[in-house]
Protein backbone atom coordinates (compact mmCIF):
# COMPACT_ATOMS: atom_id res chain seq x y z
CA UNK A 1 0.00 0.00 0.00
CA UNK A 2 1.25 3.41 -0.85
CA UNK A 3 0.96 6.15 1.67
CA UNK A 4 0.77 9.75 0.67
CA UNK A 5 0.92 12.42 3.31
CA UNK A 6 -1.02 15.59 2.77
CA UNK A 7 0.09 18.63 4.72
CA UNK A 8 -1.75 21.32 2.82
CA UNK A 9 -4.42 21.95 0.26
CA UNK A 10 -1.70 21.92 -2.36
CA UNK A 11 -2.07 18.19 -2.62
CA UNK A 12 -5.68 18.50 -3.61
CA UNK A 13 -4.66 19.47 -7.13
CA UNK A 14 -2.33 16.51 -7.43
CA UNK A 15 -4.91 14.08 -6.14
CA UNK A 16 -7.49 15.55 -8.51
CA UNK A 17 -5.12 15.01 -11.39
CA UNK A 18 -4.47 11.44 -10.40
CA UNK A 19 -8.16 10.76 -10.04
CA UNK A 20 -8.89 12.39 -13.36
CA UNK A 21 -6.33 10.38 -15.24
CA UNK A 22 -6.80 7.09 -13.46
CA UNK A 23 -10.50 6.58 -12.96
CA UNK A 24 -9.99 3.14 -11.44
CA UNK A 25 -8.53 4.62 -8.27
CA UNK A 26 -10.61 4.20 -5.15
CA UNK A 27 -9.79 5.03 -1.58
CA UNK A 28 -8.87 2.09 0.61
CA UNK A 29 -11.29 2.61 3.46
CA UNK A 30 -10.04 -0.43 5.32
CA UNK A 31 -6.82 1.29 6.27
CA UNK A 32 -6.91 2.78 9.75
CA UNK A 33 -4.72 5.63 10.77
CA UNK A 34 -4.71 8.50 13.20
CA UNK A 35 -3.07 10.71 10.63
CA UNK A 36 -5.90 12.88 9.34
CA UNK A 37 -3.63 14.45 6.71
CA UNK A 38 -2.90 11.21 4.94
CA UNK A 39 -4.40 9.78 1.83
CA UNK A 40 -4.03 6.07 1.32
CA UNK A 41 -4.16 4.51 -2.09
CA UNK A 42 -4.71 0.82 -2.80
CA UNK A 43 -1.82 -1.37 -3.82
CA UNK A 44 -3.55 -1.96 -7.13
CA UNK A 45 -3.07 1.69 -8.05
CA UNK A 46 -1.74 1.74 -11.58
CA UNK A 47 -0.10 4.45 -13.63
CA UNK A 48 -0.17 2.66 -16.94
CA UNK A 49 -2.77 4.96 -18.50
CA UNK A 50 -1.82 8.06 -16.60
CA UNK A 51 0.17 11.11 -17.65
CA UNK A 52 1.19 11.40 -14.02
CA UNK A 53 4.21 9.30 -13.21
CA UNK A 54 3.02 7.31 -10.27
CA UNK A 55 6.52 5.93 -9.73
CA UNK A 56 7.40 9.32 -8.36
CA UNK A 57 4.27 9.34 -6.30
CA UNK A 58 5.13 6.43 -4.00
CA UNK A 59 6.28 8.64 -1.20
CA UNK A 60 5.53 11.72 0.76
CA UNK A 61 4.33 14.99 -0.63
CA UNK A 62 5.32 17.83 1.63
CA UNK A 63 4.40 21.47 1.45
CA UNK A 64 5.02 24.46 3.62
CA UNK A 65 2.23 25.02 6.10
CA UNK A 66 -0.24 27.77 5.39
CA UNK A 67 0.25 27.78 1.64
CA UNK A 68 -3.13 26.57 0.61
CA UNK A 69 -3.45 28.31 -2.72
CA UNK A 70 -1.17 28.69 -5.71
CA UNK A 71 0.33 32.04 -6.62
CA UNK A 72 -2.26 34.10 -8.43
CA UNK A 73 -1.17 36.12 -11.42
CA UNK A 74 -2.70 39.54 -11.77
CA UNK A 75 -5.69 39.80 -14.07
CA UNK A 76 -5.27 41.36 -17.50
CA UNK A 77 -6.07 44.92 -16.47
CA UNK A 78 -3.46 44.97 -13.73
CA UNK A 79 -0.74 42.71 -15.08
CA UNK A 80 2.70 44.25 -14.72
CA UNK A 81 4.40 43.89 -18.09
CA UNK A 82 7.51 45.72 -16.99
CA UNK A 83 9.03 49.13 -17.23
CA UNK A 84 7.84 51.57 -19.91
CA UNK A 85 11.17 53.37 -19.77
CA UNK A 86 13.18 52.41 -22.87
CA UNK A 87 16.21 50.22 -22.26
CA UNK A 88 19.05 51.12 -24.64
CA UNK A 89 21.87 48.92 -25.81
CA UNK A 90 24.63 49.46 -28.31
CA UNK A 91 23.35 48.53 -31.75
CA UNK A 92 26.50 46.70 -32.79
CA UNK A 93 26.45 44.67 -29.59
CA UNK A 94 22.81 43.67 -30.05
CA UNK A 95 23.43 42.61 -33.64
CA UNK A 96 26.45 40.65 -32.45
CA UNK A 97 24.26 38.85 -29.93
CA UNK A 98 21.62 38.00 -32.49
CA UNK A 99 23.95 37.02 -35.30
CA UNK A 100 26.62 35.25 -33.30
CA UNK A 101 24.40 32.39 -32.29
CA UNK A 102 24.91 30.22 -35.36
CA UNK A 103 28.63 30.90 -35.45
CA UNK A 104 29.00 30.05 -31.78
CA UNK A 105 26.89 26.92 -31.98
CA UNK A 106 29.17 25.48 -34.62
CA UNK A 107 26.21 24.15 -36.55
CA UNK A 108 25.09 24.93 -40.04
CA UNK A 109 21.41 25.39 -40.68
CA UNK A 110 21.23 22.03 -42.41
CA UNK A 111 22.98 19.98 -39.76
CA UNK A 112 20.70 17.56 -37.94
Amino acid sequence: MMKVLQKSGAFVAASALVMATTPAVVADESYESNDTHSLYLPASFSSSASKFNIANFAGTISAAAGQETPMVQAAGDDYDFGDPEPVRMNRAFVMQLVNARVKDSGFSSTEA
Binding site: G59, T60, D77, F81, P86, M89, V94, R101
Partner: protein, 184 residues
Amino acid sequence: MDPTSLEVEDLRQGDICMIDVFPLWNDAEASRIITGTKISGLQLSVWENISIAAKDATKVLVAVCSYDCDLENPRSRWGVALAPLVPLASRHRDYADLLASGAPIDDDDAIAFKFLNSYPYAENPLFVNSKGESTAGMVDFSAILHMGKAKEAIDSLRSRVVFRLDDEQRTNFQMKLAMFMARF
Protein backbone atom coordinates in the same frame (compact mmCIF):
# COMPACT_ATOMS: atom_id res chain seq x y z
CA MET B 1 -1.10 17.36 -37.82
CA ASP B 2 -3.70 18.92 -35.59
CA PRO B 3 -6.53 20.20 -37.83
CA THR B 4 -6.74 23.42 -35.82
CA SER B 5 -3.09 24.35 -36.33
CA LEU B 6 -1.10 25.88 -39.18
CA GLU B 7 0.65 23.53 -41.52
CA VAL B 8 4.30 24.43 -41.03
CA GLU B 9 7.40 22.51 -41.99
CA ASP B 10 9.54 23.79 -39.17
CA LEU B 11 9.20 25.47 -35.80
CA ARG B 12 10.35 29.11 -35.65
CA GLN B 13 11.18 31.50 -32.86
CA GLY B 14 8.13 33.56 -31.93
CA ASP B 15 5.63 30.93 -33.06
CA ILE B 16 2.50 30.75 -30.91
CA CYS B 17 1.67 27.15 -30.06
CA MET B 18 -1.17 25.57 -28.15
CA ILE B 19 -0.27 23.18 -25.34
CA ASP B 20 -2.19 21.48 -22.56
CA VAL B 21 -0.81 23.48 -19.67
CA PHE B 22 2.01 25.87 -18.77
CA PRO B 23 3.60 25.30 -15.36
CA LEU B 24 4.13 27.97 -12.75
CA TRP B 25 7.32 27.21 -10.86
CA ASN B 26 6.73 29.10 -7.64
CA ASP B 27 9.38 27.43 -5.54
CA ALA B 28 7.94 28.51 -2.19
CA GLU B 29 4.66 26.78 -3.02
CA ALA B 30 5.92 23.80 -5.00
CA SER B 31 5.38 20.66 -2.95
CA ARG B 32 8.28 18.25 -2.91
CA ILE B 33 7.58 14.65 -3.76
CA ILE B 34 9.92 12.64 -1.58
CA THR B 35 10.83 9.04 -2.17
CA GLY B 36 12.85 7.76 0.74
CA THR B 37 15.29 10.56 1.46
CA LYS B 38 15.42 11.84 -2.09
CA ILE B 39 13.33 14.58 -3.67
CA SER B 40 12.09 12.87 -6.80
CA GLY B 41 9.65 15.44 -8.09
CA LEU B 42 7.84 18.72 -7.73
CA GLN B 43 4.15 19.46 -7.74
CA LEU B 44 3.77 22.67 -9.72
CA SER B 45 0.79 24.94 -10.13
CA VAL B 46 -0.29 26.11 -13.57
CA TRP B 47 -0.67 29.53 -15.14
CA GLU B 48 -4.25 30.71 -14.87
CA ASN B 49 -3.85 34.09 -16.54
CA ILE B 50 -2.84 32.84 -19.96
CA SER B 51 -4.38 33.14 -23.42
CA ILE B 52 -6.49 30.28 -24.70
CA ALA B 53 -6.66 28.85 -28.21
CA ALA B 54 -9.90 29.95 -29.84
CA LYS B 55 -10.07 26.75 -31.87
CA ASP B 56 -9.57 24.50 -28.85
CA ALA B 57 -10.57 25.97 -25.51
CA THR B 58 -8.78 23.15 -23.66
CA LYS B 59 -5.40 24.48 -24.84
CA VAL B 60 -3.34 27.43 -23.66
CA LEU B 61 -1.01 29.53 -25.79
CA VAL B 62 2.74 29.91 -25.45
CA ALA B 63 5.47 31.48 -27.56
CA VAL B 64 8.58 29.64 -28.70
CA CYS B 65 11.58 31.54 -27.32
CA SER B 66 14.44 29.25 -28.42
CA TYR B 67 16.42 30.66 -31.31
CA ASP B 68 15.94 29.17 -34.75
CA CYS B 69 19.39 27.57 -34.86
CA ASP B 70 18.61 25.69 -31.65
CA LEU B 71 15.31 24.54 -33.14
CA GLU B 72 17.07 23.38 -36.29
CA ASN B 73 19.78 21.63 -34.31
CA PRO B 74 18.28 20.03 -31.21
CA ARG B 75 21.39 17.93 -30.72
CA SER B 76 22.75 18.49 -27.19
CA ARG B 77 19.87 20.83 -26.35
CA TRP B 78 17.77 19.79 -23.41
CA GLY B 79 14.53 21.48 -24.37
CA VAL B 80 12.61 24.25 -26.08
CA ALA B 81 12.25 27.56 -24.25
CA LEU B 82 8.61 28.63 -23.96
CA ALA B 83 6.89 31.63 -22.39
CA PRO B 84 3.19 32.22 -21.70
CA LEU B 85 1.08 34.53 -23.88
CA VAL B 86 -0.60 36.68 -21.24
CA PRO B 87 -3.89 38.30 -22.34
CA LEU B 88 -3.60 42.06 -22.76
CA ALA B 89 -6.88 43.73 -21.89
CA SER B 90 -7.85 46.73 -23.99
CA ARG B 91 -8.55 48.51 -20.70
CA HIS B 92 -4.92 48.18 -19.59
CA ARG B 93 -3.55 51.62 -18.84
CA ASP B 94 -0.54 51.06 -21.13
CA TYR B 95 -2.43 49.23 -23.87
CA ALA B 96 -1.24 51.30 -26.85
CA ASP B 97 2.35 51.57 -25.60
CA LEU B 98 2.50 47.85 -24.90
CA LEU B 99 1.27 46.94 -28.36
CA ALA B 100 3.84 49.29 -29.91
CA SER B 101 6.67 47.97 -27.74
CA GLY B 102 7.61 45.21 -30.16
CA ALA B 103 9.29 47.67 -32.51
CA PRO B 104 12.66 49.08 -31.49
CA ILE B 105 13.22 52.77 -30.98
CA ASP B 106 16.10 53.80 -33.22
CA ASP B 107 18.55 55.98 -31.42
CA ASP B 108 21.67 56.52 -33.54
CA ASP B 109 24.14 53.92 -32.34
CA ALA B 110 21.70 52.30 -29.92
CA ILE B 111 18.61 50.13 -30.04
CA ALA B 112 15.96 50.68 -27.39
CA PHE B 113 12.81 48.85 -26.38
CA LYS B 114 10.07 49.76 -23.93
CA PHE B 115 8.68 47.04 -21.64
CA LEU B 116 11.80 44.97 -22.20
CA ASN B 117 10.55 41.81 -20.49
CA SER B 118 7.61 41.23 -22.81
CA TYR B 119 6.75 41.11 -26.51
CA PRO B 120 3.33 42.05 -27.93
CA TYR B 121 0.96 40.18 -30.22
CA ALA B 122 -1.87 42.23 -31.69
CA GLU B 123 -5.47 41.27 -31.03
CA ASN B 124 -6.27 38.14 -32.96
CA PRO B 125 -9.43 36.01 -33.17
CA LEU B 126 -7.15 33.01 -32.59
CA PHE B 127 -6.35 34.25 -29.07
CA VAL B 128 -9.08 34.44 -26.45
CA ASN B 129 -9.14 35.28 -22.75
CA SER B 130 -10.84 33.30 -20.00
CA LYS B 131 -14.17 34.89 -20.97
CA GLY B 132 -13.86 33.69 -24.54
CA GLU B 133 -13.22 37.18 -25.87
CA SER B 134 -10.73 37.86 -28.63
CA THR B 135 -7.63 39.40 -27.11
CA ALA B 136 -4.18 40.83 -27.69
CA GLY B 137 -1.36 39.22 -25.76
CA MET B 138 2.07 39.83 -24.31
CA VAL B 139 4.70 37.11 -24.14
CA ASP B 140 6.30 37.39 -20.72
CA PHE B 141 10.01 36.61 -21.15
CA SER B 142 10.45 36.60 -17.38
CA ALA B 143 8.40 33.37 -17.18
CA ILE B 144 10.44 31.31 -19.66
CA LEU B 145 10.65 27.59 -18.93
CA HIS B 146 11.87 24.68 -21.01
CA MET B 147 9.81 21.84 -22.42
CA GLY B 148 11.86 18.72 -23.08
CA LYS B 149 13.22 16.76 -24.55
CA ALA B 150 14.24 19.02 -27.37
CA LYS B 151 13.64 16.84 -30.41
CA GLU B 152 10.38 15.38 -29.13
CA ALA B 153 9.14 18.80 -28.01
CA ILE B 154 9.98 20.35 -31.38
CA ASP B 155 8.13 17.58 -33.20
CA SER B 156 5.11 18.02 -30.95
CA LEU B 157 5.06 21.83 -31.02
CA ARG B 158 5.45 21.95 -34.81
CA SER B 159 2.01 20.36 -35.14
CA ARG B 160 0.50 22.88 -32.72
CA VAL B 161 1.49 26.22 -34.25
CA VAL B 162 -1.51 28.53 -34.48
CA PHE B 163 0.20 31.83 -35.35
CA ARG B 164 3.52 32.88 -36.87
CA LEU B 165 5.27 36.26 -36.84
CA ASP B 166 6.40 37.80 -40.11
CA ASP B 167 10.13 38.19 -40.70
CA GLU B 168 10.36 41.77 -39.42
CA GLN B 169 8.42 40.92 -36.28
CA ARG B 170 10.60 37.85 -35.70
CA THR B 171 13.76 39.95 -35.95
CA ASN B 172 12.34 42.37 -33.41
CA PHE B 173 11.40 39.45 -31.15
CA GLN B 174 14.99 38.14 -31.42
CA MET B 175 16.53 41.50 -30.59
CA LYS B 176 14.22 42.21 -27.68
CA LEU B 177 14.74 38.78 -26.14
CA ALA B 178 18.52 39.05 -26.66
CA MET B 179 18.53 42.41 -24.88
CA PHE B 180 16.30 41.08 -22.10
CA MET B 181 18.75 38.23 -21.46
CA ALA B 182 21.96 40.21 -21.98
CA ARG B 183 21.45 43.29 -19.82
CA PHE B 184 24.12 44.00 -17.29
